[in-house]
């Protein structure tokens, strides 16, 4: 488990980090290192240089303003899971972060790394997608914002350019009547999501559903939104029966499988996990 040789940079600002990246096409951002270092040790990746963004102050911290929550890219899962702000404003995200890996992983891994790596079995992409997160990105040409639905492109591919850095994630604060939840089926070997469901539901004045979102990790090559389930829920009374009937329509056309769970079985699991997440989200709404 010895990686190839690499240079190491530790910039103190986003500007400086971006500069190093644009001057080194073979450089990679290092955040928590809990995905990048393992693949380097397996020699599946051999970046010529690492740009360690862990000491950049601007990438730290969770703040709440104007109806949204801003989480710095280098905030760890531990911080997110234990943040009263995140728990109140976006319980699905706190729940997802709290179920990642083990304690060591949660102390090191970062939201920015998790979303940028875009591992299909990671826990945070579905939560970000369901919550309608906005991702802030800075590159040599300046900063831009990307919605979560545009960010995840394909298997471990995102809208990030190689010389861009994800600087923060913005999540709308749940308004009265909105609840969210994350339900995870742990892969017995990796502990990643064999199937993870993030649900957000909003109830109108009469109690019926006025908005819903249900997204999954682990079942296909990127986080996916089950739009047909969400559409089926809007207007319903969000009863258990309504939820069961809506998830009954779930279909993930490009579901993937492995030795532990075939694509077909994952679809079945997704129905169960989707219903679980929706029920908890409803109870919180």
């Amino acid at each position: 488990m010895y990686p190839s040789k690499f240079d190491y940079h530790r910039p103190s600002s986003v500007q400086e980090a971006v500069q190093i990246l644009s001057g080194n096409p073979d450089a990679k951002v290092l955040a928590g290192g809990h995905s990048l270092i393992p693949v380097m040790k397996l020699r599946l990746a051999a970046p010529a240089a690492l740009v360690d963004i862990g000491r950049i102050g601007a990438l730290q911290g969770i703040s709440r303003s104007n109806g949204s929550l801003r989480i710095g890219a280098c905030v760890t899962y531990h911080e997110i899971a234990n943040s009263a702000d995140v728990q109140a404003a976006a319980p699905a995200l706190a729940e997802a972060a709290g179920q990642i890996g083990d304690r060591q992983v949660r102390y090191r891994g970062t939201i920015g790394g998790n979303l940028s790596h875009a591992d299909p079995a990671s826990d945070l992409p579905a939560a970000a997608l369901a919550l309608g997160a906005t991702l802030h990105v800075t590159g040599p040409g300046g900063s831009r914002s990307v919605s979560a639905s545009d960010f995840f492109v394909d298997l471990m591919m995102t809208a990030l350019q190689p010389d861009e850095i994800l600087t923060g994630v913005e999540v709308p604060v749940a308004q009265a009547g909105t609840g969210s939840a994350y339900a995870k089926w742990e892969h017995p070997a990796s502990g990643y999501a064999l199937c993870g469901a993030a649900a957000v539901v909003t109830r109108g004045a009469g109690g019926s559903c006025t908005g819903a979102s249900l997204c999954f990790n682990g079942v296909s090559s990127t986080a996916v939104a089950a739009t047909e389930v969400a559409a089926g829920l809007v207007g319903s009374d969000l009863s258990d029966a309504a939820i069961d009937s809506a998830v009954g329509n779930l279909s993930i056309p490009d579901a993937t499988g492995d030795m532990f769970a075939s694509a077909g079985y994952r679809q079945e699991l997704a129905k169960v996990m989707g219903a679980r997440a929706l029920r908890t989200a409803r109870d919180r709404a």
């Binding site: 010895y2 190839s4 017995p188 070997a189 030795m259 532990f260």
Partner: protein, 786 residues
């Protein structure tokens, strides 16, 4: 616990493990922690192909890399004049024994087969250089499934083994068994795949070799369960160095489960590289290499049938097994699916007719060898699953059918139909205790009520027997072992009365330093704290055979007990002389010799020891000093047994199996340290639950290992498991001085059947008869929904 541990009461108490403070504070030194000046580092290029011809190897770029000392291939080893072999140490009649050389010569036979060696100034360079060696492979078809490998036309692993059959072995009486089936009232039958496992010792294998060309001595620090076996095999088969010039040292060893018994090429390669370069050479496996080279376990395809009369009495058992050997015959591999498997087929039952037939099969996979339990888990799974299936087809309760068929307590010694003679047992005793603790009758009511509500509970029994502490040596030899199975011990009392104990066993996590000291404290009546235990250095202790097969207490402990007894005998002679009394008049209590009735006039063992060393006043004919050596060859195997019970709930929506309770009632004879025994049982159960629900080494059709990392190979985690309940009955071993049996493997042997029986029981409303391991949620879901 200091101070509480004086003398005789130490045996049987849960003293905390003295080895733990060093281990858990990170102070303990493992092989890779050791540093020698001027060390070079060795890496091994491994085949990416399950089966390929090697047309050529171009290492020039690697050789030119800064920091690379040398790159070697098989021809360099051959040219150096060493024998270069990796031998098999258990011979069966008519077995095909293909050549196994330290590196692949012209053909690779599994993904991971060694092809070239790099020696470099540091680990990084040694790994960089691997990427600069170009091997011209001509890939061929491979085969991984042991049954398919025997079909006509399957790719051959070795040309000299037609249909890939390494051996064709049988035990029992075929005619008698066939007759039992012809007359059976009921027959239960199952097709079983015993899933291939990867050992996953926490510490990867490693070696640090230091060859001194002036003295001709090789010092080899390595991850071994048996330093003397490695010394012997490296001397005879691999390097040809004289045995007395090789010293094999096992520093702290971080688990083995069998995987560090075997003699692999890698440690011999490090030693050979040290001979070539004149420098110490270190090799440490990456985790990937542990997956690709540590001998795997299990991997059987079996058809098994049980014949019964109308009352559910077993009348015959017929078993047909294809057992993978992998690409080469590993050290003790041939024994595992034969003498450690076929001989266990009687289980705890009075079975009048048994026939077991086994093909040992070459496949293009990592070699398969002993892994915790070694053959006995596979046999127990066959027997205990079949007993449950017998209960199902005959409509008899699983506990009741076992009771009807147990060897009765007054029927010992019991000669089975498959060679073993059980010396003692009380199977119903353990079963009763387990059923009562778990509340079996109540459970059946609860289960019925739960089913009404769509909840599926299941209970699974496994009433297992284990034969461990293989012995005696002459018998083991007659079965093909190229090794003895006695054990050595030295008990040395120093002049001050402190004691050093040397054992030929070689612990790697079991707690020998604690338990062996407990044995000696009780035997000599000296404080536990005054006793040190040393293992794992072929340069220090007499020849021994190491630690595996649950032999360290039964065989190693007995050797220690008999050496201690010799010490006491000699001390008694000296004490009698000092007390001017007759030896037969002396009592020995709590470390003091005294004449019966006058305990105030005593000579303590330390007093006697001092006199023994001063030698100013010894009885005639008595040599100075106070120590004894014992070479203990047991009379028979030991036969632990017990009942394990698993309780599960199966979720009908997802197929998820939740292990709710797990109870083990084991009979391991007298118990030296109950806490350590519980620890062994817990670890064994966790591994067995791992096999039954999670773990499996998966090869694809082309014999590529798909489960090659911990991301894909599911070792059980603590939160998958309930808190285990353990209890015991005590039936002492009648033939060894301590009355102890073995416990290292019991949990792995018993638990897979208990868990799978519980799942199948839970699924009985769906008519499910069997699910192969690992019982994943998906398999359960399919069983419910199809």
């Amino acid at each position: 616990m200091a101070g509480e541990s004086n003398g005789a009461g130490v045996f049987g108490s849960s003293i905390r493990r003295r080895e733990d403070p060093e281990l858990i504070t990170g102070r303990a030194k493992y092989t890779d922690d050791l540093q020698l000046p001027n060390t070079a580092y060795c890496t091994i290029l491994r085949s990416d192909y399950a089966h390929a011809k090697i047309n050529g190897i171009d290492a020039s770029e690697a050789e030119a890399l800064d920091g690379v000392i040398a790159v070697y291939t098989a021809s360099d080893i051959a040219d150096s004049g060493v024998p270069g072999g990796i031998p098999v140490g258990w011979l069966l009649p008519d077995m095909v024994i293909p050549e196994h050389f330290m590196l692949a010569k012209d053909t690779t036979r599994y993904v991971g087969d060694g092809v070239a060696i790099v020696v470099a100034e540091d680990q990084y360079t040694a790994h960089d250089a691997l990427e600069l060696i170009y091997v011209d492979y001509d890939p061929r078809d491979g085969v991984a499934d042991p049954k398919k490998a025997t079909e006509d036309g399957a790719p051959l692993v070795h040309d000299e083994a037609p249909n890939n059959i390494a051996f064709d072995w049988e035990i029992g009486d075929k005619e008698m068994t066939d007759a039992a089936f012809a007359n059976a009232a009921h027959v239960a039958s199952l097709d079983i795949v015993n899933n291939r496992l990867i050992p996953n010792a926490m510490e990867p294998r490693a070696a640090l070799a230091d060859y001194n060309s002036i003295t001709g001595e090789l010092t080899l620090y390595m991850t071994t369960q048996n330093p003397h076996i490695h010394r012997l095999l490296i001397s005879l088969a691999s390097l040809g160095l004289p045995e007395h010039k090789i010293r094999v040292i096992a520093p702290e060893v971080g688990g083995g489960f069998g995987s560090k018994i075997h003699h692999y090429a890698d440690e011999a390669i490090a030693a050979w590289a040290s001979m070539q370069t004149g420098r110490p050479v270190k090799w440490t496996a990456t985790r990937t290499e542990t997956y690709l080279t540590d001998a795997h376990g299990r991997d059987h395809v079996t058809h098994a049938e049980m014949a019964m009369d109308a009352d559910g009495k077993f009348t015959g058992l017929r078993v047909d097994t294809y057992a993978a050997m992998g690409a080469y015959l590993s050290t003790f591999a041939p024994a595992v699916p034969t003498y450690l498997y076929g001989t266990l087929m009687s289980g705890e039952y009075d079975l009048p007719a048994i026939y077991c037939h086994v093909y040992g099969v070459f496949t293009h996979t990592v070699p398969v060898d002993a892994y915790r339990g070694a053959g006995r888990p596979e046999a127990t799974f066959v027997v205990e699953r079949l007993v449950d299936e017998a209960a199902r087809v005959s409509g008899i309760d699983p506990a009741e059918i076992r009771r009807r068929n147990f060897v009765a307590p007054d029927n010992f010694p019991f000669q089975t139909q498959v060679a073993l003679a059980y010396d003692s047992g009380n199977y119903e005793g353990a079963l009763d205790k387990a059923l009562e603790t778990i509340g079996y009758d109540d459970f059946r009511n609860e289960q019925a009520a739960a089913r009404e509500q769509g909840k599926y509970l299941g209970i699974g029994l496994s009433t297992y027997i284990e034969a461990c502490g293989l012995a005696p040596s002459a018998v083991v030899g007659s079965l093909g072992a190229q090794a003895g199975q006695w054990e050595s011990a030295v008990v040395r009392v120093h002049a001050t009365g402190k004691v050093t104990v040397y054992s030929g066993c070689s612990g790697h996590g079991q707690g020998h330093e604690t338990t062996y000291a407990q044995i000696v404290a009780s035997a000599l009546g000296v404080p536990y704290e005054d006793i040190d235990v040393i293992e794992g250095d072929s340069g220090v202790m007499p020849h021994g055979w190491g630690t595996y097969g649950s032999r360290s207490a039964a065989t190693g402990g007995s050797a220690i007990a008999s050496a201690a007894e010799k010490v006491v005998d000699k001390a008694r002679t000296i004490a009698a002389h000092l007390l001017e009394a007759a030896e037969e008049d002396l009592e020995f209590e709590d470390g003091n010799f005294f004449v019966k009735g006058s305990p105030d006039q005593a000579q303590s063992l330390p007093d006697v020891a001092l006199q023994a060393y001063l030698a100013h006043n010894l009885p005639k004919g008595i040599e100075p000093a106070l120590e004894a050596t014992s070479f203990y060859d047991p009379e028979n195997f030991v036969f632990p047994f017990g009942t394990h019970i698993a309780v599960v709930e199966v979720c009908a929506n997802t197929g998820h199996v939740e292990l709710q309770r797990y109870l083990a009632v084991d009979d391991v004879g007298n118990v030296i340290n109950p806490m350590i025994v519980d620890g062994q049982v817990h670890g064994g159960i966790a591994q067995g639950v791992g096999q039954s629900l999670y773990e499996t080494a998966v090869y694809d059709e082309g014999a590529n290992l798909l489960s090659g990392t911990m991301l894909d190979y599911a070792v059980p985690k603590a939160h998958f498991l309930p808190s285990f309940e353990t209890d015991r009955t005590v039936t002492p071993c009648p033939h060894n001085p301590l009355g102890v049996k073995g416990v290292g493997e019991a949990g792995t042997i018993a638990s897979p059947a208990a868990v799978v029986n519980a799942v199948v029981d839970a699924l009985s409303p769906f008519g499910v008869a069997h699910i192969d391991m690992p019982v994943t949620s998906e398999k359960v879901w399919n069983a419910i929904n199809n």
